[in-house]
Amino acid sequence: MSEFLGHVYNYDVFESRQGESEYFRSLTHAGDAARDFTLPGLSGDVKLSSLRGAPVVIEFGSIT
């Protein structure tokens, strides 16, 4: 089972995770090049770097 920062990534029960906030803050900052990715989408694949020329608003989330 995959882990993230010492915890199960796809956990069954929500719990507050020590260290996640600090990790988030330590990553890429304003002014840095965005980390590129390609993901499958419900309407086709999306590659972040192919969207250059307009701002991209990216939200991470789920139905729960």
Partner: protein, 141 residues
């Protein structure tokens, strides 16, 4: 956030990245993902439920892109037209994202006009009582 996408249609792209379930224990129909197919189905359900105008993409089962962007549950990032991060927050608040997007567009326009060679801005949202404001609190602000 869906209204924000409607308001800025044609000016910005909006991507929703489907990640692990945040509260699988509270939603019996949306348990923790055991397969990519299950995760994909949840994303389809999200689109059907909210009729979102945003582009929905699905991260892999182990959250590769989610980890790349910090692994928090409800984060938002804005990447400017040059591919650089102009905003990041670990707790998505529509009014704050709206303001950041307006700032990003304004900065890009100023640079196009030659007013600025570079534009840099940092901001920090207040943490209330040791935690970020809830979605309900943010909606009232």
């Amino acid at each position: 956030m869906d209204q924000l996408a409607r308001d800025f249609a044609g000016q910005a792209a909006f991507i929703f990245i489907y990640i692990r379930e945040a509260h699988p224990d509270d939603f019996p129909d949306y348990a923790a993902h055991k397969s990519f197919e299950q995760k994909w189905k949840h994303a389809v359900d999200l689109r059907e439920r909210h009729k979102t105008p945003r582009t929905i993409v699905v991260d892999d089962l182990d959250g590769a892109v989610h980890r790349l962007y910090g692994g928090r549950l409800d984060t938002c990032w804005i990447v400017n037209d040059a591919g650089r991060v102009s905003y990041k927050t670990e707790w998505t608040s529509e009014p704050h994202v709206r303001k950041a997007l307006e700032d990003t567009l304004r900065a890009s326009e100023l640079m196009r006009q030659g007013g600025f060679k570079d534009f840099y801005q940092e901001s920090m949202t207040a943490i209330e009582g040791g935690r970020p404001p809830s979605k309900q609190e943010s909606a009232r602000s």
